[in-house]
Symmetry: C2
Subunit: 403 residues, 2 copies
Amino acid sequence: MSAARSLGPSAIHTRSAILDLIRSSGTVSRIELAEMSGLTATSITRFVKSLIEDRLVIETGFGDPTGGKRRSLLELNPTSRYAVGVSLDDARLNYVVVDLGGNVVGQLTSSGIGQSVPSAEIDRIADELEQLFRQLDIPRTDIVGVGVAGAGLDLGAGAERLSLTADEWESFAVRKALEARVGLPVVRDNDAACAALGQYWVGRIPATQDFATLYMSNGFGMGLMIGGSVNRGASSNVGEIGHMVVDINGPDCWCGSRGCLEILAAPRAIVSQAMQDSALAEELELSGDDGHLRHDFNAIASRAAEGEERCTALIEHSAHIVAAAVLSAVNLLDLDRIFLAGPGFADAGAIYARIIRERVSGFARARGVHGVTIELSDPGLDAAAVGAATLALQYVLTPHAYV
Amino acid sequence: MSAARSLGPSAIHTRSAILDLIRSSGTVSRIELAEMSGLTATSITRFVKSLIEDRLVIETGFGDPTGGKRRSLLELNPTSRYAVGVSLDDARLNYVVVDLGGNVVGQLTSSGIGQSVPSAEIDRIADELEQLFRQLDIPRTDIVGVGVAGAGLDLGAGAERLSLTADEWESFAVRKALEARVGLPVVRDNDAACAALGQYWVGRIPATQDFATLYMSNGFGMGLMIGGSVNRGASSNVGEIGHMVVDINGPDCWCGSRGCLEILAAPRAIVSQAMQDSALAEELELSGDDGHLRHDFNAIASRAAEGEERCTALIEHSAHIVAAAVLSAVNLLDLDRIFLAGPGFADAGAIYARIIRERVSGFARARGVHGVTIELSDPGLDAAAVGAATLALQYVLTPHAYV
């Protein structure tokens, strides 16, 4: 039972802010916390007491004596709490267990959702979570929740429209279904938003550094970290960069609009362009079916990464269109740091990064004022799954961060 | 001399936050402030004392007695401070004087900057400010500063690249030059950002309502209010929606990129399309010169508003392209409220609003979750000038809000 339960909503908010200050400071004294927060020493003492009672914060020795009373230092207790993150994807499920310090302490990978329906998959995910928990030497009571990352829309009131192959995933409430099966709080968010949050947490990016994470799976999403929080917009549906209009006279998109980034440059578009070259399609054993989309795209992307000419041309074509959308986002939001994450960038991420860099450095409106770094997120890291776990930690421990 | 001067940076931040809470609450007690802020009653009492000493806040009677000690209520003292806002524009200069409550208490309009150079214009602006101050029955010491709104880029270190006709405005430091002439703090920001801030302040929009203001003058800008603050990005150059790529195969833009919103749909594009119809050009007495751009565009826009067919077609063509860019911004940021402001929308704003509404309501990704309101800002109000004045008030009184 958390000591926070006895506090009112604004006090919980303040307690969360103090916990966040301790996290971002590494080690910090109560007096420094009072200076940073503008709160009185009395308030700080009270909130810190509640955080220590909950084992979230520990005292770790003393600061330099400056003549007066010796000051004990505070820091997060990383091994006091854990959360699980799952990234839902057609081609692969990634599970990670993250501690309060953002360290990955457990991992599991299994086959993707493919054409499977929700009822079977929720059972499987619950079983795989169980299997993961058994592998870990962690008290079950210290696992605070499960975060789920996936492409799709938040429809409000718990329902989501997931971008997975089987129709049954449209307007399915993953959160509710999984919560009933695993008996832990479950939170769910867009994979791009999760990837941005994961980058922020694991990459120890300061709250003053706003940035965007462009996430590419079957489509595109953009997570925005503004002032140390994931920007959520009106309905937690921020980041639909895949439906930015990049060619006003372009082809109809399945979303109803036309000339969207996604219809022009996402894996499905690249694979259908490749299918038109029958020699190439045969050579790479492309199926052209939606069920094998990721396999087909990966085949093209990995050959492009090796320098195969036809595949390179296809990926570069996609990258030029992605670069135009990224340039538009950079101009609209005056971004100076962008991460590329997600399975779509796993094989040919370097080609995308190079072409986006060229376009943004050449044409960003504020290029005379500052550069824009375009970085691939660590490919070994599933940023979305780590971010989903972080989201669960935040949801349970610092309720203000998850609206 | 402000009582805030004796406080450290984090205390000034807290004082600013308390001032903002009082402003958004209308009237509020110290106990309510303590509840809302999470600060102790002692801290609140101390900060409120400093705000009252500065005349920024006044006590206004008492709340309902609930058995205990009667509680005095606090509110902003609207007539304690004033600021001036100036909106710089090729075609017209607007000056407004705004009090701390956001009320416009003085106004002056003069001819635009046209092809004139900075040295002459700064002198004229200083003279016109002097003239405006003389008209007002306000102690000079209560005018805290001047805000300047204009299109262009913030180049950092005080320099700006203003989008005005004469080349001399490129990399000219308006802020520094005007400050030296008027002896008051001068702040300068993008007209779109100012227009958003003005809407927020005068329209008493709550901090929880994020929104965007699309500003159209010779080009386009988008001001973003997120969490009650103007979003500033990496270098205060947020909002360059005019250089969003809407036609990846489109014509070269002067910015170096191609197919930008601005090159396709801004007044210059509309006027050159109109010039190709010589009968229309003659009828409307269009000159086609850059120096008469606003006049030419206004002639087309006002005839379109009257229903003239050829002019309506030209404005609708522009509006469809603007609508695609707005849809892209709505999808990227999950916006649910957009204001249209600026001289470009003065005559044919209703046509733009209708076409943007149609496209956004038909195709926004989150349309199943929430609607998006598209509103014309009050045409009588110069949102950019009012916002610039607000910016000056914030800069001087609540330093946290202006980074």
